[in-house]
Every structure is written in C-alpha cells, then in structure tokens.
C-alpha cells in the first residue's frame, strides 16, 4: 500500500501515517471501490530465496497473497448483485470480503452513533434501541448459510458450457453470525395476540421491506451485528441485519431499522412482484421462504482442465433450509449410478456442508453430479423433474441437480442436458 518494505525513501513514521490515511480513506469507500483498490496491479517484492532475507513487518490487517486472485463479480449497478467465487473456496466458511452481495439501492452507509432499531405496531410497549443497547442483550453465535433465492438463474435460463459455480451459485455464503434472538427483544415489547407477522424494514435508500411470519421470528431469527468475528461489513448490513436461518436472503433484511408487528402481510413489492415463483398452473407461489435442499460440485468444474489421469477428489457444497444435510450422493456416469460422498464434520443445521468423493479419472468423458438429501427426507430434484413441476418460466429457488462433464481432453464444462 505504501511502497515495498525496502523502500528507503519513506521513514517509518511516514509509512505509518500514509498507511493510516489510506486505511481510513478506504474505510469510507463503498466495498466495490475498496475491492478496486485491492485489485490494482500488485508488485510483490518476492525474494529469490525467502530464507535469506527477512519479510515485511507486522501490519494492521492481513492481505491475501499477491499470488491469490479471488474476486466477486461486481456489475457496478446500484440495484444489483455480485457473486462469490465459491469454486475457489475451501471448507465451508465464506471470507467476509467475498460474501455475495445483493442490494436494491446500493450499500447503505450508516453511522452507528445515529443507528436506531424501532419495534412498534401490535405491541404493548413500543421500543427504540441504540446499537449499544441492542448489543447489551444476551447474545448467541450460530453458523448459517445465506443464499439469494435467485441463485441458479443463469444455469436454468441460459445454460452454456462456460458457466462456473460462481456464475451459477455464487449468491451463496456461509458465516458465523452473532446477534440477539428476535424473541428476546419481542419479549420486551409484549407482542399482542392479534399480531401474526412483522414488517422488517431496512434503512437503505430502497427502505426494503419484507413481511415475516411471527412464528419464524420467535423460532430462530436473529438480529445480527457481527459476522465471522467482526462487525457486519456495510455490504452485509452494518450495523444490524435480520437473519432468518434457512430462508431466502431477501428476507434477511440488511441495515434493519424497524420491526412493525402486524396482523396481515404488507404485500410489499419484494413479496409480490419479486420473490414470487410463477408455476405452470397459472399461479405464482408467494412467501416461498424456505431454501430447499441443494448441492453443487465446486471441483472439478469449468474452467478447470484436468492434466493427469488418476485419482482426483470431487469436492462440493450441500445445504438445506429445511433441515440438516444427511447425505450427498455423487454420480460420475451422468446419474446412472450413485455413491455416497463423505460429509466433512461437523454437519450443522442450515449451514453449508463440504462433501468430497474420490474418483479415478481414466481419461474417459464423464458427467459428474451431486445430489443432496436432508433430514426431512427431501431429495434434490433432477432438472427434468424441476422443469416439469415448476415450469420453464418459473423464477427463484432453482435447486435442481447441477452437472459437469469432464471431457476426454480433461476440460470440464457445465452440462445443460436434463
């Protein structure tokens, strides 16, 4: 950031000052601009023999190795999304700076000193909380996946061989969330018996709002203020977001400023014209909150080319908003036969699960698929079954099987065949 460590033209004090200035200036930028700063051509000073010269000193925050290129896919749109490079990740925890984004009026930048959360409507005692007050309630920490229900649209609507897992399923993340159970705060306000829903509203320029059934809010929903050990990042809803475990990401309202207890859903734009699922029987499914069981292989996938025959490890992710994942089946012959994959422990409820499967590739064309099963017995559907039930024009909740074909030359491409 301020020259290479052996740049003698800077004194230590100058280096500290310029680093601090750059850090504070960067902190004021939207994350997309911060990412742009981080992707400026790096000129790493890599010694020929790192054992013969000391490296850089300690620093305020670690950066990735200049040899590692991982990035989302920002479009520059105010109302848009950027997809996480899930095919470049290992394990199950999504690095916070690479967690997917979906905003409806840009990233709200909120001063924590001015932040307020208001609870009102069908309650005995309306309440306003500062951020400090909210954080003073008993806290819980849980690992949950978070997924946009539009995930998978590219593969369903416009499949092509050159699709990566990032472009298909990159609106997916998994994090350790810390916050206050919604029920803890609802207890304070005295929810009236006629209340059955709450309108959750964000403090962004879209005032994004969703009606959430009270039953869910009192079951396991969280008022989240930290993610992977640090305060939420602005793109993730700083300072507070709603998190409804296992439910579509849009219901997990970011920059949450208001919960209004109500007796019927508000029929907001994002629960009527958007986030509703047209079906082939001339209806549209509404309030389709739960994310069905799903899995995808993340390796080997496009744009990987296998360069040697022999044993490879097929790796992937599985998740379900309904219940814990109990099995992932893998096929290497286009779905004719299936083998149980290894699930990496611990397998957590409503969290990403890493699965692996050893496969001996002998140079033949092989179509590889994964299939998730959860504790309710739900089995991830085939593309043909999905299309038959949901229709070609449906929208959201695309959880059909994803297939990749390893060609004879080792190139791996997305397989759009049913």
């Amino acid at each position: 950031m301020a020259g290479s460590p052996d740049d003698r033209s800077l004194t230590r004090r100058e280096l500290l000052v310029s680093t601090a200035t750059a850090l504070s200036a960067a902190a004021l930028l939207p994350e997309s601009d911060q990412a742009a700063l981080g992707t400026q051509p790096a000129e790493p000073a890599i010694p020929a023999d790192p054992t013969k010269a000391p490296g850089p000193p300690t620093s305020a925050a670690s950066a990735r190795s200049p040899f590692v290129q991982m990035a989302r896919t920002p479009t520059g749109a105010i109302a848009g999304s950027s997809l996480a490079p899930i095919h470049l990740m290992n394990g199950t925890v999504t690095p916070s700076d690479l967690h997917f984004e979906r905003h409806h009026a840009g990233v709200a930048m909120i001063d924590p000193a001015r932040y307020r959360l208001m609870l009102h409507g069908l309650v005995d005692r309306p309440l306003v909380l500062t951020l400090d007050e909210l954080k003073s309630f008993p806290s819980v920490t849980r690992v949950y996946f978070l997924e946009c229900s539009g995930n998978g649209r590219a593969a369903y609507n416009s499949p092509k061989p050159e699709l990566t897992p990032q472009l298909i399923d990159g609106l997916l993340g998994n994090a350790e969330w810390t916050g206050v159970p919604v029920r803890t705060v609802l207890r304070e306000v005295g929810v009236r018996s006629e209340a059955t829903w709450a309108l959750a509203e964000g403090g962004d320029a879209a005032l994004l709002s969703r009606s959430i059934p009270l039953e869910k809010l009192t079951e396991d929903s969280l008022l989240v203020y930290a993610m992977n050990g640090e305060p939420l990042r602005p793109a993730a809803g700083y300072p507070v977001r709603l998190l409804n475990p296992g439910w579509e990401g849009n219901t997990c309202v970011k920059w949450l400023r208001r919960l209004e207890l109500i007796s019927q859903p508000n029929m907001s734009r994002d629960e009527t014209s958007k986030y509703s699922d047209p079906l082939p029987n001339d209806t549209a499914r509404q309030f389709s909150f739960v994310m069905d069981a799903k899995s995808t292989i993340t390796y080997p996938t496009y744009p990987v080319q296998l360069t040697r025959r022999g044993w490879i490890e097929i790796r992937g992710l599985a998740w379900s908003g309904r219940a814990r994942i109990t099995a992932v089946d893998v096929s290497t012959d286009g779905g004719r036969t299936w083998t149980a994959a290894k699930l990496q422990e611990p397998v957590l409820d409503k969290a990403l699960v890493r699965f692996t499967h050893s496969f001996q590739w002998n140079g033949e064309r092989s179509t590889i698929l994964s299939r998730a099963v959860d504790a309710t017995g739900y089995v991830q559907p085939t593309l043909a079954e999905f299309r038959r039930v949901r229709g070609s024009g449906t929208n959201y909740h695309y959880n059909h099987l994803r297939a990749w074909t390893v060609q004879a030359d080792g190139r791996v491409v997305y397989e759009a065949a049913p």
Binding site: M118, L129, N266, T272, F287
Partner: protein, 205 residues
Amino acid sequence: MSRASAALALGASLVLACGGGGGGSADSGSARGSVSPAASEPASYALGRTPEPQEIAAWDLDVNPAGVGLPSGRATAIEGASVYAAKCAICHGARGEGVAPNPPIVGREPREGFGFGRDPALVKTVGNYWPYATTVYDYLRRAMPQDKPGSLTPNELYGVTAWILAENGIIARDVVMDSLSLPQVKMPARDRFVRDDRLTTPGFK
C-alpha cells in the same frame, strides 16, 4: 467421540467458562469447586426507551392492501402524467415501456391466463403481474425515484400511481386515486397468487 458426548463436553466447558469466578477453589476433591447455575432470564433487560409518537410516524410509512397507512391527498392519472414525465420517464420510458436495463412497467400481455410459469418470454409488468394496487404506492413512496427516494409528495405519489394504473388499462385517466379509492382497485393478477405449499405437501413441489 459421539455427537452426544461431544455436545455434553462442549456444554460442560461452557458452564466452566461462565462459572470462571468460582474456578479457583482449593477443594482437593474437585478443581472446579462449587458453581452456581446461571440466573434465570429477568422479566425485562430494561434497555432502550419508548419512542415518541412522531418518531414512529416518521418511519411508519408502509401501506397495506386494506389501505392502512395511505396519507391524505389525491390525484388522477391526468394530473400524474407531468410528474411521471419529469421524474420517472428517464428510466421507465415515456409510456412505461422500460429503458434497458429497466423492464417495462406497462403491459397487459397475456390478456388471458397467467402463463408466466410456462413461458419464459413473458415480461412481468405492474399491469399483468402485480396483485395489489396499494403496493405501487408503497413502493414508490419508499424507493422512487431511485436518485431521490422519498422526495415525492402524497399528491405526486397518487398521481404517478394513477398514471401507471391507467396506462395499464386498469383505471380510467380521470379517476381520482386517494386513500379510499386506491385499495378498491382490483388488479388483474389479484387471484393468481397462492401461498407456499412446499412444506405441507410430500414430494417435489
């Protein structure tokens, strides 16, 4: 270690951590000494304050299908046309036909049926897909125009709402939209929306 014993061990370590104050006992029989159970949850944590009525009113801007939340004010589509032209057309087109990447907001095809699930080529608009007219007002009030949300007056909001409904052929251009008439507008797609049945029906839905 089985899952159950792992959970027990984890629980024990949590209790130990919470009861750290009592962990220094010199009792030779147990390194832990006596540990009190956690206090039960209080009736209230006594955090926060009661909002003033005007604080609630300033944020309580939502409008529901019964019209609850609609402010006073009124306008026709004829009156709303100039507001639309000045503040909306640049993104949504002079007649609501859309300006890429913004899709159309006006259009009634298919006139018959609701074939969106079958036909990916059908384009959803306010006229052929939105089930409630009140949602138009609610959304405009929250989020439009995108570069200056919250800037339209109630009369302007009623006017633009009326213009969108009239262009879609749902109301006449001279019909006044206000807090009483808007909730009475029945949208063409009103009866097409069904509740989620995935969790209550076996098999893939």
